[in-house]
Symmetry: D2
Subunit: 149 residues, 4 copies
């Protein structure tokens, strides 16, 4: 199973803690973490996944694999900039969106368009078509309930 | 100058009329129309642009140039699916979003992230960060005011 | 009809003359020229197409439409680097490869894989599976014979 | 360290054995295997890597992660068709090309253009700019000598 975690490349400490918690919970359930591979939410989630012995995959915006954060197991250098955003929901069984701005909004839009199960943590509420909570444990619980993991 | 028109591949008659009007107005101002090349809003805008002697470019989701609507001057077969959505704002001086659903939302998100001038017609209001009107003439007027055309 | 012209971003004067001649001949036949939009062969072919009143489309490697050469009618900023190379044969009815190095080789490989009619001018001979000449007029003649234009 | 293995989606038994051997050798050296994720050479290399406890990443051409072969640890569904070919050399420290046809040729071209260390096994000889052998052990040895692994 692959689960995407999407969110901004910079975030405050409270958001990073939630992202790291999500990364840990995903790894404990045996899911591969797929993220954008950069800092902020992506880095915190990767750190959490690796701390539990999981695999963290970064789908990087640039052409240099070394630009990824230090916790990644796998670095895919796309060079597509934000165009790589579609690859995360498209490759995953479910997606968790944490806080974030317009980049995260584009990924939420793609997840909704592709019909990939999506749960938000303190993020865009949009049209009420997916659950949003501020508790990472609850978010992971809801997501796995939806994807049957 | 290149202006993107984004919107869904199916739409009602009233929306199509607005899209066609936008296509006409863009061509009259000498702008190249860039769109997703398919039906609905994209087809109506392309038809309008061509009716005024303009150029209509379709950035298609599939790998077959023939899938584009009949009014395109240029067909780029990307094969990227909705991943091609970023190419439209990224290639344009400004973007007009007409109605639309999640695909259009992803393009709005990209336009906002990239800082490309954006005007909406009867579309996602989102966070109030860009003007939305229901009048195509006003939308084109506002957009050109922003991009200085 | 859309015809791709592929070749390096820098070239000698003799190669540029051939590329410009190809651009002129394509425009005279009413074909849209699709190229990588940068300098060298791409710029010369674009200049030729525009000199005959044709349309020149640049599928740019970067994210800034302004990086394209001065003769383009349409600029698509992909941001995909050389990953954009597949878009040219994929979008075209036929392709002419002029001189070039590894980037051009990747496009020849894609044209062959996709089964797009291909003619070379002073380029990689490879496996003898497509005609190579050093005369631009002959190359265009052969190509249109193959694509039935 | 990430090493790409490129080759066709169908291959004879002798080629599959070489690809599986390469996959095993890469995993023993602790490298992550990155490949196109489909059958033939890609499947055999993935099977070899997993048999040694390694990680096998598939950069898939389609939009459905399930299309990847059964041995993948990670599946990235790009939807880019052969356009995804650039992602493999671009993401890797080195690349081994095994047999293959035009798709493999495009990847060889990208590896050469990007300057990524490349070794061939029974593949396109091209311009003599990279070593080609028919022995998988020798190929891995040469590659790691070049990338310093």
């Amino acid at each position: 199973m692959q689960v995407g975690v999407i969110g901004a490349g910079r975030c405050d400490e409270a958001t990073a803690e939630k992202a790291e918690r999500v990364g840990r919970l995903l790894a404990r359930r045996g899911a591969v973490l797929v993220c954008g591979g950069m800092g902020g939410v992506m880095e915190a989630a990767s750190r959490g996944a690796r701390a539990e012995g999981g695999i963290a995959v970064g789908i990087l915006p640039g052409r240099n694999p070394a630009e990824g954060n230090a916790h990644l197991t796998v670095r895919i250098a796309t060079g597509f900039g934000d165009g790589r955003n579609i690859l995360i929901p498209q490759s995953c069984d479910g997606v968790i969106a944490i806080a974030g701005a317009y980049g995260t909004l584009s990924e939420i839009a793609f997840a909704r368009k592709l019909g990939i199960p999506l749960v938000g943590i303190s993020t865009w509420e949009l049209d009420g078509s997916f659950p949003v909570t501020d508790d990472p444990d609850e978010a992971v619980e809801i997501l796995f309930g939806r994807i049957g993991g």
